[in-house]
Subunit: 331 residues, 2 copies
DNA sequence: ACTAATGCGTCACAAAATGACGGATCGATG
DNA sequence: CATCGATCCGTCATTTTGTGACGCATTAGT
């Protein structure tokens, strides 16, 4: 029985397509586990495993480099219908939120899920794709594409704390600019965009780089230096970021909605504490503790004339003046 | 070597905690695969497998019911750092988009990912949680919670095409109403809400039920009847749904943005075909082929006075009249 | 009380895994 | 170009493991 377990461990050690492991590396790592056999046995194991599992090797000189076939993904326990369905839904949502280069890592899981759903479909003739739909409220956006290899390198640099060298296009139509030493500080994900926060050379001011504008990137040997006292959270909150969090304190929002608009409020509270009061004139008063930020403004403005902001006074004034400017604009 | 493969197949057959399989069922299903042994062997296999794998059995009389332990999830190949990181990001995004009862199915995967990330953290002291952040533009929403078991039952009913019996609260504060025969037609996911579309009794008009308002639900034996010609896609598009898709045809949108607002346009095109033209007066003209729907309106209105809609004429008129109404409102 | 289904212990035999050894191949080195 | 080390592969005797058959024990259902 040791044999089965050892082979299981070997399967666990095999990396996915792209990386690889040699027989002697397996032997070495197996020694640290409870279990050990001759290298010969491991060679035999791999040949045997190849018969039943989607694994292959690449021969380099005299050495074999083993890995899983591309795109394969087993899960134990095997995905049941609900899990597969959830993966299907996640895929629908996530492709517009995360860049393709990230979603790619989940592709095998999605494939796996689709297979299970397809199999179920065949078995029962239920044809579920006709029965389940995701409706998105958002304007469909298409993802800017990130150069191959950039995501991996930048991820690695951030995670391992290494310096990088990169060429970066500040605007889509501009020529790329060379940054020979960047110290990565962190990554920020905003609606399908990835920002790399980094300092350049000895300059301590953090800069922002969009990953899809990075033309080329190279991992350097040297470790990155993080400016004293820097935290990513602090940086985001400091308002340096694209959507500055203006004030962190809560305000007491009062807004009057048309009843037809208020359907959404009933169903999606803004935060935990929300009070709704209905009036006879088909309007609904919302009271809530919220953060005033760009998102809130966008959300409220999105209702157009279906909402009237009553309080706080400052926000009402802001909306008033926006209307004034709009009035002039559309005159 | 057949042994390892057979045991692998057995592991594949074991369902996750909640369901279960007996020794004889395994033997039966194993017969359909290429491989067959005595039941005695399978009994021995399971005992052996139990030594190394997180599986257990529940004894019921003389029969053993086997399944995987709760919460366990293996993946082959084992998740690498990038995949684990992607799962981490997906979790951050998805919990506000899908109801908890659905996300629960992915929990083991997320756990798995977190473990790998934690392990990596320990190994390298990189402390990645300080280096990667997801910033959401949206107003934070809290999920309405769905009663335990409701999701599963409704999913099953939809997928297997079975009738259900349910009690439903039309409004949060109202008493529940009994629906003794519902024919499920489909599920629609909208921003963290799940709608069940179903007909009641012999009535052919589809009704909408919010899953989190379903107090109790029971699967019935009888098959559901789907009204002739009904398709979920058609139903959604017909405008019967919460956000009617007003017109399906594309229009040619022209809008003038303030430069500071236009930063977002540069980065997130609305659809494939987008043209941007910059002017000297710090304004940017956007031209694009888009669908006019509620989402587009919300999105445009969200920019407040930072955008002027130029074309099509109809949309411009609409914005004009909205401004008129706002003007009166804030007077 | 009987029967069928299921699990378990044991034993002899069959099948496999193992370690040791030597030969073959290939890249690196000087 | 000879040499060395690393690696893989074939083979064989030995050890370990897996297997089927059989009988007994236990339990649910009739």
């Amino acid at each position: 029985m040791d044999t089965l377990y050892r082979r299981w461990l070997i399967l666990k050690m095999l990396p996915r397509h792209g990386s690889s492991i040699t027989t002697s590396q397996i032997a070495e790592r197996l020694d640290t586990e409870i279990d050990a056999r001759t290298i010969r046995s491991i060679q035999r194991d791999l040949v045997e495993l190849e018969r039943h599992f989607p694994i292959t090797f690449v021969q380099e000189g005299r050495t074999f480099h083993w890995c899983w076939n591309e795109g394969w993904q087993f899960t134990f326990p095997v995905m049941d219908l609900h899990t597969a369905l959830t993966f299907h839904l996640v895929r629908e949502y996530i492709t517009s939120l995360l860049p393709t280069s990230s979603v790619r890592f989940l592709e095998p899981f999605f494939q796996n899920a689709e297979e299970i759903l397809a199999e179920y479909n065949e078995l029962t003739l239920a044809h579920w794709p006709d029965k389940i739909r995701v409706v998105s409220r958002k304007v469909k956006i298409t993802q800017p594409s990130i150069m191959k290899g950039v995501t991996e390198t930048v991820y690695n640099a951030v995670l391992m704390g290494k310096q990088i060298k990169a060429s970066y296009r500040k605007k889509d139509d501009e020529a790329a600019q060379e940054f020979s030493v960047l110290h990565p500080l962190g990554l920020v994900f905003v609606e399908g965009l990835i920002y790399l926060i980094a300092t350049e050379g000895n300059n301590l001011i953090p800069l922002r780089f969009l990953l899809h504008r990075i033309v080329e990137v190279m991992l350097l040997e040297k470790s990155a230096t993080i400016p004293e006292g820097f935290t990513l959270q602090g940086y985001i909150e400091s308002g340096e970021f694209i959507y500055p969090v203006m004030k962190v304190e809560n305000i007491r929002l009062k807004a009057l909605f048309q009843r037809k608009a208020s359907a959404h409020l009933h169903e999606i509270p803004i935060t935990g504490k929300v009070r709704l009061k209905e009036f006879d004139d088909d309007r609904v008063l919302l009271e809530a503790e919220v953060l005033v930020n760009r998102e809130l403004r966008c959300w409220l403005r999105g209702f157009g004339a279906e909402v009237e902001v009553l309080a706080p006074e400052g926000l009402r004034e802001e909306f008033k003046s926006t209307v004034e400017r709009l009035k002039i604009m559309y005159r």
